[in-house]
């Protein structure tokens, strides 16, 4: 297991591609699938990363796997083509929906934890997997609100989806923390019930509190509590890769490096900086 572990990685973004290129120990990165052309030039800086042997996983954000409507075939085709271009060992997407009846929400929205919603996700993942030649990992999102008609606990809901789709789990520790905090629950409780052996890799991100709610912003520093959760997770079952996800308000390079080092320290993987 330790041999094929990637260790600490980072979400590749064009804004910080120069920083990512300068990480000597990097072996794992993730790129937003929709920002990569299926056939045209790869984004500036990404080819050099691939040449170095860094594994780059496409991360879809607009497939809308949790939508009641079937996934749009051209989006699935694009995701599959990008995975092939990057030579990625897997792809990832969210358990969420981003549009309904032709209207874009502009963001990942939660779905009800109901049988009907599970059926929708399972059908959409099946449609997606038919075109993919690599496995897919599903990421539960952070939601500021819940649906009123949740039938299942989050753990049961996720486990059933994973069982029925045979997908891997992309566990976002910051999402687990955010949801637990906003619902007044204990994040460790959810960790204890999830199939940790199916975790393909882990997201770690920062957030901030506004008016009593914790927002998973990806534009703030990673809080200590999230790093503690990383340490706890790795003590129970260390996933093969953990990556920092930052989407804006990028801090000075020193701070980004410190965050990567903190994730390395919490997980026990070597520092990549």
């Amino acid at each position: 297991m330790a041999d094929d572990a990637y260790g600490v990685g980072i979400g590749w973004r064009p804004e910080i591609s120069g920083f990512v290129a300068g990480l000597p120990g990097l072996r794992f990165a993730e790129v937003v699938a929709e920002s990569v052309h299926a056939h045209g030039d790869l984004p500036e800086g990404l080819p050099q990363l691939l040449d170095r042997g860094v594994t780059v996983v496409p991360h879809g954000v607009r497939l809308s796997l949790g939508g009641a409507e079937p996934v749009e075939p051209e989006r699935v085709t694009h995701l599959a083509a990008v995975a092939e271009r990057l030579g990625a060992p897997l792809v990832s997407e969210h358990i969420a929906f981003v549009r309904a009846a032709g209207v874009e929400a502009g963001h990942l929205l939660p779905i009800p934890r109901s049988r009907e919603a599970i059926d929708a996700v399972v059908a959409n993942v099946a449609r997606t997997r038919r075109e993919l030649s690599v496995p897919i990992a599903l990421e539960p999102i952070a939601a500021l609100f819940d649906w009123p008609d949740n039938e299942l606990s989050e753990a049961d809901f996720l486990t059933e989806i994973l069982d029925r789709t045979d997908a891997l789990l992309l566990l976002d520790v910051a999402n687990v923390y955010a949801n637990a905090r906003n619902r007044g629950e204990d994040p460790l409780e959810l960790l204890g019930k999830l199939p940790l052996d199916r975790v393909a890799y882990v997201h770690v991100a920062g957030g901030a509190e506004h008016q009593g709610l914790y927002h998973d912003t990806h534009t703030d520093a990673v809080p200590r509590a999230v790093l503690d959760l990383v340490a706890e997770l790795c003590a129970r079952h260390r996933p093969p890769a953990l990556m920092l996800e930052r989407d804006g308000d990028y801090p000075p390079a020193g701070e980004l490096r410190a965050e990567l080092d903190a994730i390395a320290a919490a997980s026990g993987y070597p520092a990549i900086t």
Binding site: G11, R13, P14, E15, I16, S17, G18, F19, A21, V32, A33, E34, S35, V36, H37, A38, H39, G40, E44, G45, H59, V61, R62, E72, E74, R75, H78, V82, H94, A96, E104, G106, H107, L108, L109, P110, I141, A142, A143, L144, D172, N175, A178, H203, A205, G207, L213, H215, D216, T217, H218, T219, E245, D247, G248, Y250, P251, P252, A253, L256
Partner: protein
Amino acid sequence: MEDTWGIPGPTFLIGYVIALIAIAVIAAVNRKALFRGDRNARVDDLGPQQIAYLNGGDRLAVYSSIGGLRAAGVLGTGAGKTLVQTGPVPSGVTPLDSAIHHAAGNQARTRYLLEDQWVRAALDDLRAGLERRGLAVSRDTVKQARMWAWATGALTLIGVLRLFAGIANDKPVEFLFILIGVAVLTTIVLARTKRVATTAAITGLRQLRVQHGYLAPQQSPAYATYGAAGAAMGVALFGAASLYAMDPAFAAEAEIQRIAAGGLAGGSSGTAGSCGSSSSCSGGSSCGGGGGCGGGGGCGG
């Protein structure tokens, strides 16, 4: 009817064309040699302001310094579009940085920086150093290159004299007229020769631009992450558009001119271009890019 000046029209025209071509070819060869610079000169160890000078002359060197000072948080804008200091000058800066920071202390406007005596002195030093290294073309060399305009100018004069003589002689002058036009254009081009970087430097700059492609404004570089040196280098390699990408309000207030640099299209920051043309942006919404899954929102992935 006698030939004008005793030379038949076709013979004169052929001779005129040959002379024009000969001068153009010799001038081109000579200019190439003049502008070649030191082939072994390196650009890797140059600072951003030196690179900026090679890429866009005095003005871009000033802009690169402004970019670095702004990223370091010590430069801002005040009333009347003047520059102001917002902090003490950082340690280890270049003489040009110090001069601009000092000028900002006197509420200088960006466009008058080139007339400031300290800024001027710093730029002259910077240029002289680059000339010694065979990277910058000296003003004398440019003057030398412009000398060829005298040759084509003389040819133009001969043509004009022949034109008048020919008209007086009632000869057809249409072809001559066209050739004179060509000679005039060539003269203008030669007389207006401008050159900052040697061929050696331009080759080096091209490599630097590839190497630092992540600083191109189309990438919306995270200047905070790359620091003051990265900001200055971005401006140096990719022009004033980098200043607008970094801090649009400041750049507009400081009256930064969107001059072209390094063959970039004049002025456009091209941010729209990175999106609209892409076929992979299925659905047309948001087109990948900055999206990500968190971003200010409460429902991150």
